[in-house]
Amino acid sequence: MALILHFLTMRKNWSTYLKAYGFIAPCLAIISIVFIYPLIQTFILSFHRVRGDELQFVGLFNYRFLLFQDEAFRYAVINNITLLISIPILVVLAILIAVLLYERIRGWRTYQIIVFLPYVIPITVVGIVFSRILRWDGILNYLLNSIGLKFLMQDWLGNREIAIFSLMGIIIWKELGFGVVLLLARLISLPEEVFEAAKIDGVSWTQNLVYITIPQLKTILLYYIILMTITMFSWVFNYVYVITHGGPGNSTMVLELIIYRYGIPRFMPGIASAAASLLFVGIFVFIFLLLRFRKGIQTREY
């Protein structure tokens, strides 16, 4: 309504408005098909049971089923939250490597290429290679054995207790490069005087890192943390699908795989949609909490 009113009062701008909407139209068309329509549809379907072409309203049954009866779903929630542990590890490693590259440690050009390498390798391939490395008779155990750490030997992907952490290790290995590139880009775009002043004052390398470099990276770090939170909730399907299929048992089950299993092989779109809605809400709750947390820090500072 307001939009129409706006149009009427500013009629002389009609042609410029139309042109602007023309520029946005292709994007909007694709986004309506890929995001807006499906999100509405998912929400509606989550309250229904699908039988052939018929939709049967079942209220909250799908949600109740997932939350109280489905053991795999519970495993998936715990595992997705467990994966968040990788974020602090990623952040620390990314800051360290980005700073070392920025300070042009000897061999930085080579390191820079190597650090980003895992990001380029397809997850499918990563999965196949690491499945081999982490087997009971794989090279990791062979190495542990030969340096006398026999007690650390594990069936890394076959042990229910450990499999999710092995998976996390692989995800960290793959995702680290992107963080480094992001932080490095931010460091390079900072004015050099910021760092020059500190050097003259004679502060140590560690002080410099904690008091000068990291505060400068605050915005981009928050952005990186949000992006990684999203990744751990909604972009780990490929890893799990290729490496463990959710097993052994449900020990590496994640929400995406639940949605996939109910949605495609078992064709129960109602339950799949309910799981999808829960995942979607979960992500936004986490991002909201992150932003709140950040605001809390800022108000304390000023």
Partner: protein
């Protein structure tokens, strides 16, 4: 000039980076070396350097039906998705930054917040929609979906970068009689080469390596992408590791080449555009 690092710090950092290098390179080495081994040699010495180079795996893959076809599928899908996604994003980002119209703020926020939507949440309704339209197993079905997932992040990065382009350039071009398309094409696109290349790399890698969407929308064997084919054949060939590694190697080479050629732009592309 004063040394940047203390001696002991230097040692620690170099040790750290060297360990990282080994961890990052070993899987690559393992893939290449086992792809060159015969099945027999792999069983006896899986991690050594191949004694005899065996091309049997490469030969087998070329004979293995559909492998060339699936590679072509991957190339077509990746190129068209990236181009479609980026063209749409360029147009939208330009309008969102340089034009005035009602609903501008809402649209910008909408586009950016879509970064948080996981693919799996939207895939089933899209699947039903595409099935009704008879578009399953066609290129356009996946291209639309991939382009959709490329748009939010690309609009975000490009609109940030566009904001840093000085208005005076736009005014000068307008005086020379440039229309909006002209300004976008002759000023904004050339100045934004770095982020455009970065987006092409990052999104291209994503599409090339993507599995879920590819598995759902391209189900017929002759329409499958390379990644989907490899993932599906994994269980069939579990015993023949060298063959799997050869497949993997072939799938990794194109993204690797693109990365090596365009890596100069990668860091630069992220430099503008973020909230400072």
């Amino acid at each position: 000039m004063k040394e940047k690092f203390e001696y002991y710090q230097m040692t620690v950092f170099h040790t750290f980076l060297i360990i990282l290098t080994v961890i990052n390179l070993f899987p690559l080495y393992f893939m290449i070396s086992s792809s060159l081994k015969s099945g027999k040699e792999y069983i006896f010495s899986p991690y050594s350097i191949p004694r005899q180079i065996a091309f049997e795996n490469f030969y087998k893959i070329m004979v293995e039906h559909n492998f060339i076809r699936t590679s072509i599928n991957s190339i077509v899908v990746t190129l068209s998705s990236v181009i479609a996604g980026l063209v749409c994003s360029l147009l939208a980002a330009f309008a969102l930054v340089r034009m005035e119209f009602p609903g501008k703020g809402i649209l910008l926020n909408l586009f950016i917040s879509l970064i948080a939507v996981p693919p799996i949440v939207v895939l089933i309704p899209i699947y039903v929609l595409m099935a009704k339209a008879g578009m399953i197993n066609t290129y356009p079905s996946v291209v639309i979906v991939y382009a959709g997932f490329i748009i939010p992040f690309s609009v975000f990065l490009l609109s940030g970068f566009f904001q840093s382009i000085p208005l005076s350039l736009v005014d000068a071009a307008r005086l020379d009689g440039c229309g909006d398309f002209g300004i976008l094409w002759k000023i904004f696109v050339p100045l934004s080469k770095a982020p455009i290349v970065t987006l092409a790399i990052v999104n291209g890698l994503w599409v090339w390596n993507e599995l879920l969407i590819a598995l759902i929308f391209l189900q017929r064997a002759e329409m499958r992408t390379l990644m989907a084919t490899i993932a599906l054949s994994q269980s069939r060939f579990t015993l023949n590791v060298p063959f799997m590694m050869t497949q993997s190697l072939i799938a990794t080479v194109p993204p690797l080449i693109v990365y090596i050629i365009a890596r100069r732009y990668l860091v630069r592309g992220f430099m503008g555009g973020f909230a400072k």
